[in-house]
Symmetry: C2
Subunit: 766 residues, 2 copies
């Protein structure tokens, strides 16, 4: 099978033409001969600009993500790789996908020629360190594979990854002094003071283990690695603060060993004389538990030295995962769609060794016997569309993720479900208690395999914890007062939504009192709607409105979370009719929505890093993600249809710059997937989707329960964005609201699209 | 049972008189009614001056040692407590006994009244911190118990300890603001930069766990603790760098919890309103594995709140351990003897949780299934007499210690047995490979329960490791050359001795080639004897003697380890006849020994902290420990007899200042015990003891194999130091050399002593 990298397909015009022809031929969901779904993965999508994805290989939901790092100091490059950077530092073992805050990037490997350098050096002056120039012309990335030629050393680097282990294949020039450096001090927080401690051990002349403890986004993140080399070192050195660690050196610590060291600035050098085109393969694995477990993970997942076999195995996993949705479409659409699925399936990450052990939130080692433990829960983002997608087509994993969150709860000293959890840490990032909608939406949509009563207990305790983020005042007053708590409006609105979810679960479990209680809290959004301005507005503990009040302004630690009043005012997913009523009816509501999309560039302030703007709708950040669909609640679904299709077309694609905002562990991509399929979970935890306008001719979803849901879009074209008619399971369907039960056991959604709105479709109230 | 503390017995004249009467009555090995061997333990012995013992309670070979700390910055106070200090910082959970280098002192607890202070403050101005004045008049220490009244706060503190858990009983005055502080930053390395990281968690309103990582004597020492409080906190605070950790404080880290924190300067405050004489008990435990294991250790060993029951249980363990040797004697002799046994049985320390888990040298968590794992091996000291004593009366533990050392070997990246190991760390302290004599002496004296072939492999690999301390050059040249390695003479001499031990084991296992090889290495001492000066002298790699040469000078990192040429010249325990020959015969040899004891105060230089000097014989440090016995090899045993008895009388006792040098995990005390019993293992690994002059009227040793060895000393008195005659197992015995086989199955040693030398006894060559 020929490797086709993103570059090969995108920049090489010859290949591009061939592929264009191939994509035209692929008019059904059948793949062309020899074609595989994983061929459509473009790992470079999102690596330029705000997407914050990484280009290196990873298995679906895998524990390792081997990838090049070009940057470790900028939050704008949270995944470590910015496509426009001219030089690369090396290749580290773990990466976050699409987050707005950098972390991971553990254990950098970099081959070198000549006397090894021990610092990365300047991005634009790579000769100042071990950095190397590279060119996108000699770089390729595809499913389970990344390759780059290091222009300064002439070393060709290839990476692949399994779930817990990966492989690096280095092809060297002839050299008297070649080396492979591991920088244990490297991590993507940049700040060296955030590396608390590290150690490295040369277990034998072809095996190294190491460890570091990072006080980064999480307060204390332990990670161990193990590396085995296909060729024993000719010699090796451990460097500490620039000095070789050796017997009695007394430079750093009173060691009498040259085979191990501890400190805060360690590099390991595996040294070789190499022949021309000599290949040395390094296989690596990580563990949050111990070096011994990292070795176990390594030896279990990479027992041999067959780089290509690991790559093929992981590609096959991607084929399998992507086959959960098979679509027809042109090459661009398939690449965009399957790359979105790829990004959706990169997090949460497996966080458990082959032994079943993992390091929990309490820093203790736990055994996950009856589930796979996952970490990296970007819940403020992913509760919106990512987990609802999992509930639909990844229920088994979703159940494991829920089990993982319940384990987190059990390990939480504050008895809280995760907010934004990162490998045995709570980062306390963002707001709300959005593990709740994940659990509730999953359960109500049929995700099983966890103890729902135990889950309910965790959900309820989390929502009732008086120590957390103004919840006590919220419970007492009906809103979070801005004089006691920042981001008070956003917190109030998001709590009210989460509370609605709890009420739904309470109802399902026959807890009538709780249902009534949380439904009452779900109405708390009304307390912050100021009719005098027609917007959500901060209120203090005495009931006074925030004055002065700028509805277009985002202020860090102000009343709103990464947004303005004009954006957050729409955050009532649990009761859009109630919001419509507050705003004076559907006409006013839609006019106000129209206004949101019409503000000029200078009308709103703040959040300069959020792109994808249409007026004050900022698609690049999550508070906007449900807003377009709100037209569908108010009798003007065609306005949603047009905007959704415009965003699919203009803010996604197969290019490095194609993501307009942080992918946020798959939420930007999950929005794409649902929206391209023609429906979206505006209110996870409730029992319906909202219908938009599909962007794929045909899609077949293999649902978690084994049934198939087929979506077809007749007359699909760039112009034909308006729904003319819809048949659901063969019967005409005229509402824009689609109950989950209609598709829970598969079925068909048959859209007919056209260039003009059918203003009589989708206006029927459910 | 009335508690009789050291102070009560020593300072209270009334009690003293009573006791003196009691001791006169106790003329047989029978104890007086109600009297227990543990009554003779004086934990304060060695706490004043160089002894470096600690006064707090510990179980035999226990994992925790709860004890007051008065100092954490001075190496002279390595155990944390100096008797002459006027104020106490608090009470920490772990302590080393008698080492010359400070470490441990983990997790300081200190009750306070008023607004809690967070720094210890100045020793002589305790109001500057949480220190408190105290008085020896309101302090008491006995087996399993320590008590002190904090004069500043009025809180009475009582401590007791089991194996892995301990209890602290605080009796408060009435106070609106009482607290019990835990300082996680406290440890006995003093230097705050050596605390790498710590965290603390309030598990529930009466339970706290915590952790710190210390880059101290060991490169990375992890320790966790758990504490349960008999009364839930009225309130609690976590302080980090002086600030309260609370929701959104952003002072140290972006926490939204007041129940946990991480950092490098943490204190936990349990806060109470107390009534007069209100008692709050805190039970504590440690683990090197995890907080979860610390809790398991705590709940297994201290399930209830009965302080007195834990104290009594540990006292009973001491009674049992001390009963391995029962002696007759006056109160002073019994206190001195049993306190020496107490100190001998304080290390190595249990280092394994109730789960069987421990953190190994490789930082991994290991399971010790078929042995008890021990840590803290001060082998350069303890191979001399401590382990030979264990082989004789503690063989089961000695076997576990050997297993622990073999596990260390397996976990050593350098394939080395421990040198000076400390809780999962190799400190690389001191020289030689003296795990070898421990293993060999144990095996040859009947210690079983370990795989001797595996042990032999470890012993041999350790002695052949070319990376270690000049061994490669030693093997090649026959000496360690001073131009390549410091402490070259001491290393050469000690290697040669260790090699002799290996040869003995090789012989026992039928490895004839190895026997020949290592016996050849055992002769290497001869290569450094310079006949022109009649002393051991450094030699470089070209064979040139060290010039200039000062035979009385100790130079740090010079040719000798904590000693001079005049001291180290005697270090040929494996071949004293060979040394005698080198020195020109017995007369010359004895004259030279006489000279050693006759040098004036200003004749030798260096090592000012070593006390117990008789000429250039420095009893306060180990290189001298075997020297007096050498007279017995050269026909003048009476000179040994007189000196030994003089040292027993003048350099030991029942006083805080009674130890003239670091007790070094029991070696100083083991020297006392053997010498007081009348024989000493000059060459562990060989099959004999050397006979001195007993200092107890009667002693019965319960040997490891269940047999009994009885030693009697007729006419024992302060003046009667000379052996007149000896019967071994009933038969007259005239040699000063006692083969182990004579006592291996018990028997009798019947000495008759007198005031003048019997110059015809002990001159017979074996």
């Amino acid at each position: 099978m020929t490797l086709r990298s993103w570059h090969a397909t995108f920049w090489n015009m010859t290949v591009l033409c061939l592929l264009a022809a191939a994509s035209l031929a692929a008019s059904s969901a059948e793949l062309a001969a020899g074609e595989r779904l994983s061929d459509f993965i473009r790992p470079l999508v999102g690596t330029h600009g705000e997407g914050n994805t990484y280009p290196g290989p990873a298995a679906p939901f895998g524990m390792v993500q081997l990838s090049p790092d070009t940057e470790r100091d900028l939050w704008e490059t949270a995944s470590g790789y910015e496509y426009s950077d001219p030089s690369v530092m090396g290749f580290s073992l773990t990466h976050l996908s699409g987050t707005g805050i950098p972390d991971l990037g553990d254990f950098l490997f970099m081959p070198q020629i000549g006397e090894p350098k021990l610092v990365a050096g300047e991005k634009d002056d790579p000769d100042t360190g071990y950095r190397s120039r590279f060119s996108h012309d000699e770089e390729s990335a595809s499913a389970a594979y990344y390759q780059v030629k290091l222009l300064d050393s002439g070393v060709n680097v290839e990476l692949t990854a399994g779930e817990r282990a990966g492989m690096m294949r280095f092809t060297f020039p002839a050299s008297e002094q070649a080396s492979i450096m591991t920088d244990l001090a490297h991590h993507l927080r940049g700040n060296r003071f955030q590396l608390i401690w590290s150690h490295v051990r040369v277990e034998d002349p072809a095996t190294v283990t190491g460890f570091h403890l990072i006080n980064g986004w999480g307060k204390e993140r332990y990670l161990y690695f193990a590396a085995r080399y296909s060729r024993p070192f000719d010699s090796h050195r451990i460097m500490s603060d620039g000095n070789e660690v050796r017997y009695d050196s007394y430079q750093n610590y009173r060691f009498r060993s040259r085979n191990e060291a501890a400190g805060t600035n360690l590099q390991f050098l595996a040294e070789y004389q190499t022949k021309a085109d000599e290949t040395i393969t390094v296989k690596v694995a990580v563990s949050a538990v111990s070096a011994a477990n990292a070795l176990k993970n390594l030896d279990a997942e990479a027992p041999g030295w067959d780089f290509d076999a690991m790559r093929e195995a992981t590609r096959a996993k991607w084929d399998e995962e992507l086959s959960r949705i098979e679509i027809d479409g042109a090459q661009l659409e398939k690449e965009t769609f399957y790359t979105a699925m790829y990004h959706c399936f990169q997090a949460p990450n497996l966080y458990q060794d082959v032994t079943g052990e993992y390091r929990g939130l309490d820093s203790n080692i736990h055994q996950a016997d009856d589930f796979q433990n996952y970490a990296v829960f970007s819940l403020w983002d992913t509760y919106r569309a990512t987990h609802p997608l999992f509930a639909l087509i990844q229920a088994e994993r979703d159940a494991d993720m829920i089990q993982s969150m319940l384990a987190h709860f059990d390990q939480s000293v504050d008895a809280l479900l995760p907010m934004w959890s990162l490998q045995g840490n709570e980062t306390w990032c963002m707001i709300g208690y959005h593990a709740v909608p994940v659990i509730v939406d999953g359960y109500l949509k049929g995700v099983r395999g966890f103890d729902v009563e135990r889950a309910y207990d965790a959900v309820r305790k989390t929502a009732m914890n008086p120590d957390y983020d103004g919840v006590a005042a919220y419970d007492k007053l009906g809103w979070v007062p801005f004089d006691e708590e920042n981001e008070s409006v956003s917190k109030t609105l998001e709590y009210a939504y989460d509370d609605y979810c709890i009420a739904q679960l309470a109802k399902a479990l026959g807890k009538e009192d709780d249902y009534a209680y949380f439904m009452q809290r779900a109405d708390n959004y009304k307390n912050l709607f100021d009719p005098s301005v027609g917007l959500m507005r901060g209120k203090d503990s005495q009931g006074n409105w925030r004055t002065p009040f700028n509805a277009h302004e985002y202020v860090f630690k102000g009343d709103f979370t990464e947004g303005t009043s004009w954006q957050y005012t729409w955050y009532v997913p649990q009761d859009v009719p109630g919001l419509i009523e507050l705003m004076g009816g559907e006409e006013n509501f839609c006019e106000k929505l129209d206004a949101l999309f019409s503000f000029g560039e200078n009308d709103s302030e703040g959040m300069d890093d959020v792109q994808g703007r249409i007026g004050e709708y900022w698609h690049g950040n999550e508070p906007s993600h449900h807003i377009i669909y709100l037209y569908c609640y108010a009798g003007q679904p065609w306005k949603a249809q047009e905007k959704l299709r415009r965003i699919l077309r203009t803010q996604y694609g197969n290019q490095p710059h194609s993501l307009t905002g942080n992918d946020d562990c798959g939420q930007m991509s999950a929005w794409y997937l649902f929206t391209a399929l023609g429906f979206y979970p505006v209110c996870p935890g409730d029992d319906y989707y909202v219908i938009g306008s599909p962007a794929v001719e045909r899609a077949t979803l293999r649902l978690s329960n084994g049934s198939e849901l087929t979506v077809t879009a007749e007359n699909l074209s760039e112009e034909n964005v308006y729904v003319q008619s819809l048949r659901v399971n063969g019967r005409p369907y005229s509402s824009a609201m689609l109950p989950h039960e209609q598709i829970a056991n598969g079925g068909t959604l048959e859209f007919v699209l056209g260039p003009e709105p059918n203003k009589s479709w989708g206006v029927e109230r459910q």
